[in-house]
């Protein structure tokens, strides 16, 4: 059995909700049109297709595009050793996806991390708190509009963080820039 077979079985069940499987570098990716159904799709993938192992959940900030967020699930089956990637888009106004902690308990910390770093909430999560940053931290640092040097913020009664001293930097290149001038390493902010 291959990942592609399993992806087609998943499509047979959910039909138009799932896009046609995309293959890249031997990996199969399916895109779910309605983020609200992700828990159902995952429950079916685990229960009927043997994807009993959740490798990872990650989130992507498509800054400037709509919908802004993409949540990416990496599924794996210990029985058939196949990998499948599920993706779903979430708009910035909504910023909420149903939790999959009921399907795999390992999702608990992954979802907390995404909430902490990107600010996407997981509906029905048993304990949605920040995990890497401290409780009460006001920003979501992995968003594209959060500067690399950081923002000053207070940690009540304990500490105070300043901007990182980067001596005018960070000097970064622009991936896929239009011309050489655009790609040259320089200080990059969201504006330039």
């Amino acid at each position: 059995m291959t990942s592609l077979d399993l992806a087609n079985q998943l499509r047979a069940k959910f039909g138009e909700l799932l896009s046609a499987p995309v293959e890249f570098r031997g990996e199969v990716t399916l895109k779910l049109a309605d983020a609200g159904r992700i828990a159902d799709v995952c429950a079916f993938a685990k229960g009927s297709l043997g994807f009993d192992y959740l490798l990872d959940i990650s989130s992507v900030d498509n800054y400037g595009d709509d919908p802004r967020w993409t949540v990416v699930y990496e599924l794996y089956g210990m029985g058939h050793h196949c990998h499948l990637r599920l993706k779903t888009d979430v708009s910035e106004e909504r910023s909420e996806v149903p939790t999959v902690t009921g399907v795999w308990r390992t999702a608990d910390w992954h979802e907390r991390e995404i909430y902490d770093m990107m600010g996407i909430r997981f509906h029905g999560h048993p304990d949605l708190r920040r995990i890497l940053m401290w409780e009460g931290y006001p920003y979501f640092p992995l968003r594209k509009d959060f500067p690399l040097a950081g923002k000053p913020s207070a940690m009540p009664d304990v500490a105070f963080s300043k901007k990182a001293p980067l001596e005018g930097g960070p000097f970064v290149t622009l991936p896929g820039g239009k011309d050489t001038i655009a790609r040259e390493p320089r200080v990059r902010t969201m504006e330039n």
């Binding site: 890249f24 570098r25 990996e27 990716t29 009993d52 192992y53 959740l54 490798l55 990872d56 990650s58 989130s59 992507v60 900030d61 990416v72 990496e74 210990m78 050793h81 990998h83 990637r85 795999w104 308990r105 390992t106 608990d108 910390w109 992954h110 991390e113 770093m117 920040r130 995990i131 890497l132 940053m133 401290w134 640092p141 992995l142 959060f146 690399l148 960070p170 970064v172 290149t173 622009l174 991936p175 896929g176 820039g177 790609r183 040259e184 390493p185 990059r188």
Partner: protein, 438 residues
């Protein structure tokens, strides 16, 4: 507390229930309100803050333990004290520039992280099959040396935490030799940054392969010594046997990986299931545990080190070009748009100069797309999810850190155990906070 004698050793959840009814409502002095008195005896639970700087937390892990006497009724792990924003940093630099940051993930096995990251980017570029055989052999040697180094530390610290200090001295003697090998190979003992996208920083120095061979013989003797001290040592067995049992189903459900997953009897090793580099051409066994307790995880690690030695010997025998590469086998992909051209040519030829300039300023030109690559690292499956929109830097790079995932089971695993068992369990899970917090 006479009832404590009835507490079963094999079943932690039952212990929680027992603890709740264990204390009989003995009234020491006449109290006006019996209900209040009862609450005083029963209701108070002690909240114990373990960490973030506790010797057995191996770094900066904090666990808030709710105790009833000596029995844990609830555990809340708190991570993030070492968060440096590695994923954010990765988005702002070229793929090659991020290699030094991977040293600082699992800083007990930097070579393995370098290899895993380079392979992830190479998968995105579609060049992992073009890697020269000599490069692949050296990378496997690096991975296995890193595995031995990380397991030696994990084992030494684990044994020290449960009272066997000598083991720590023994394992650190061997680790020192690995650091010496790292130093002569990469120039750095700790922060190796050895791989490059499409190859390696440099070839092995003269005599290095023989030094590794000598190390293989020595570490085997040392492992025998360690096993003599621990495996059937009654104190060590008492502290680890039937403590912290993770069932097979729980291990998979919580996404455990590496020795922690195999300790619970799941025969899953990325090197076997999805062989990368030349692991499909090498012979090695995957040890698994039977019960899933701390002792099984210890046994799996010891056996993995022996298997690593076996892999090292095979690689050293098979390495193309031999120990000192007299025939001049390449170690880098033959493509100047991926690997920096030789310095002498940069100084004399226009085309190489341009390649050098573009590679340094813009990085490799990766295609748009997304890949996930997981490698079997000492702590478990280290995965990189790269979302590329083309060009020299990732749009998003997510690190699936095995320590982060492995620690998430603590809240489920610790309740029902004694406070002293926490030390055994943490030692047997063998995590690194640098990787967990990223």
């Amino acid at each position: 507390m006479a009832a404590s004698q009835t507490i079963e050793f094999r079943d932690p959840p039952a212990r929680v229930n027992l603890a709740a009814v264990a204390a009989p409502p003995v009234s020491l002095a006449p109290s006006p309100s019996p209900a209040e008195d009862l609450q005083e005896l029963h209701g108070d639970k002690l909240v114990l803050n373990m960490g973030p700087s506790h010797p057995s937390t191996h770094g900066v892990l904090r666990i808030v333990l709710e105790m009833d006497g000596e029995i844990i009724t609830r555990a809340t792990p708190d991570v993030g004290y070492l968060h440096r924003g590695d994923e954010k940093i990765a988005e702002n630099m070229t793929y090659t520039q991020f290699i030094p940051y991977t040293d600082r993930l699992d800083y007990l096995a930097p070579l393995a992280n370098n290899v895993a990251y380079a392979l992830a980017v190479e998968k995105l570029m579609g060049i992992e099959r073009q890697l020269p055989p000599r490069c692949q052999h050296i990378r496997v040697i690096c991975c296995e040396l890193a595995r031995i180094s990380a397991h030696l530390l994990g084992l030494g610290a684990f044994a020290m935490d449960v009272g066997a200090l000598t083991v720590f001295m023994l394992t650190f003697t061997e680790r020192e030799k690995i650091y010496n090998l790292c130093e002569s190979l990469t120039g750095a003992r700790f922060t190796t940054s050895y791989t490059r996208i499409g190859g390696l920083m440099r070839d092995t120095p003269a005599g290095w392969c023989d030094a590794v061979r000598k190390f293989c013989d020595e570490v085997e003797l040392n492992l025998d010594e360690v096993e003599k001290l621990l495996t059937r040592n009654p104190i060590f067995v008492d502290r680890t046997k039937d403590v912290g049992i993770i069932s097979r189903a729980d291990a998979i459900d919580f996404g455990l990986s590496g020795p922690n997953l195999r300790g619970s009897g799941v025969e899953h090793d990325v090197r076997k299931a999805h062989p990368y580099l030349i692991y499909d051409q090498l012979e090695f066994d995957v040890p698994v545990g039977s019960v899933g307790d701390c002792h099984d995880r210890y046994l799996v690690r010891v056996e993995e080190m022996r298997q690593s030695v076996r892999l090292l010997r095979q690689c050293l025998d098979l390495i193309p070009g031999g120990a000192d590469n007299k025939p001049g086998e390449p170690i880098n992909v033959h493509d100047s748009k991926i690997v920096l051209p030789p310095k002498q040519k940069v100084m004399t030829s226009m085309e190489e100069l341009i390649h050098q300039f573009i590679l340094v300023t813009q990085g490799v030109n990766a295609p748009a797309g997304e890949v996930y690559f997981g490698a079997e690292n000492p702590k478990g499956e280290l995965g990189f999810y790269i979302n590329s929109r083309g060009g020299g830097a990732p749009h998003r790079l997510k690190i699936r850190a095995p320590s982060f995932v492995n620690l998430s089971i603590l809240a489920h695993l610790l309740p029902g155990h004694m406070i002293s068992d926490v030390v055994s369990i943490l030692g047997s899970i063998d995590f690194v906070m640098g990787e967990c917090d990223r």
